[in-house]
């Protein structure tokens, strides 16, 4: 749910990184955080377990610049990927403007990707959204690993509606900003349409 403040001339949007456990959602945010100028970002908040697994969410605000005199600020969130944190995932989707689905390209994680994708559709519905109607991109992460499926196979299985599909190695930053750009662009385009 976009928040537009005419008084302070700001547009605030919420983007959620979704996907199965250990697919690299937090790594995406960490890379964005590490490679952004200090004046463009706030703190990276990680509500994680002692073993660094996301417990509730990661959050970072990111200022991209101005559009027609309005500061555009994106609030980036990740969800906890582990199956049993479903109640938390549902809550984090509240008010979402755009979703990035981070898929793990490794062959043995395909079932987890599919399960998480269904879970995303269900949880979006629970919050009153339709995956087919909201800004959405698919990121195929971990492209540097040896046991990965081909882009064609992953796309055939996971692409839902002709959304942009981006290859990534989040740990080294490959594709991370392209993914963010793809979803942010859709969010702003949606704003224009509404």
């Amino acid at each position: 749910m976009t928040f537009i403040n005419y008084a302070s001339r700001e547009i605030n949007c919420k983007i959620v990184y979704y996907g199965p456990g250990l697919c690299g959602k937090t790594t995406n945010l960490q890379y964005i955080f590490d490679s952004t100028a200090p004046q463009a970002k706030g703190k990276l908040i990680s509500l994680a377990t002692e073993t660094d697994r996301t417990l509730f969410f990661d959050f970072m605000p990111l200022e991209l610049g101005t559009v027609r005199g309005f500061k555009t600020r994106f609030h980036l969130y990740t969800v906890p990927g582990q199956v049993f944190y479903d109640a938390s995932r549902k809550l984090i989707l509240k008010g979402v403007d755009g979703v990035v689905f981070v898929a793990d390209s490794q062959e043995e994680r395909m079932d987890a990707n599919i399960e998480s994708m269904y879970n995303l559709e269900e949880n979006l519905q629970a919050q009153g959204y339709d995956l087919m109607a909201i800004p959405y991109v698919l990121q195929l992460n971990k492209r540097d690993l040896p046991n990965i499926l081909s882009i064609e196979d992953l796309t055939a299985e996971l692409q839902r509606k002709g959304e942009p599909v981006l290859e990534a190695v989040a740990a080294t930053g490959v594709g991370v900003f392209d993914t963010l750009k793809a979803v942010a662009k859709q969010v702003l385009t949606e704003l224009r349409k509404s």
Partner: protein, 159 residues
């Protein structure tokens, strides 16, 4: 159906700021925030100092969402107020429709006083947001500004 966007114009923003300023004074608080339930800060008043207000807003919303989830599991609609008392600083959060009123206070005030003052301004804030909702629905069709955003404007953000 998901909530529609909050669109805040100068007049309502000043109205909200005035309510927060009064509350901050009456409750002898350190700082008062208004945050939407999705974690976006709407307005603040008081001694923000080195508080990271953006993070606080997001965490307050997460906090309310999590306790709201617990409420529903035990058959409650939501927990309308939450209080966290620390050794020196404390936080009181009150849910008012789709927004959260967050009051940070120290030993110069008390939870009782904060609760009382928050209750007194809740209706006022609820009325402002009701009005905002009505206006947003009315203005939706005549708002030309965002339709003027071009692809070049969007691309320039990433150049």
């Amino acid at each position: 159906m998901a909530d529609t966007s909050i669109i805040l114009h100068e007049q309502q923003y000043q109205q909200i700021k005035a309510v927060l300023a009064k509350l901050s004074l009456d409750a002898a608080s350190r700082v008062v925030f208004l945050v939407d339930k999705d974690g976006q800060q709407i307005a603040a008043h008081g001694d923000v100092g080195d508080i990271d207000t953006t993070s606080l807003a997001s965490l307050a919303a997460g906090n309310v969402a999590a306790t709201g989830g617990m409420a529903q599991l035990i058959g409650e609609k939501e927990f309308p107020t939450l209080s966290h008392e620390g050794e020196r600083e404390s936080i009181h959060i009150c849910v008012i429709g789709r927004v959260l009123l967050v009051v940070v206070f120290d030993e110069r005030s008390s939870l009782g006083l904060v609760k009382l003052r928050v209750k007194q301004v809740s209706n006022e804030l609820a009325a402002i947001f009701e009005e905002l909702k009505r206006e947003a629905a009315k203005q939706r069709t005549d708002e030309a500004f965002f339709s003027e955003i071009t692809d070049e404007d969007i691309d320039s953000l990433f150049s």
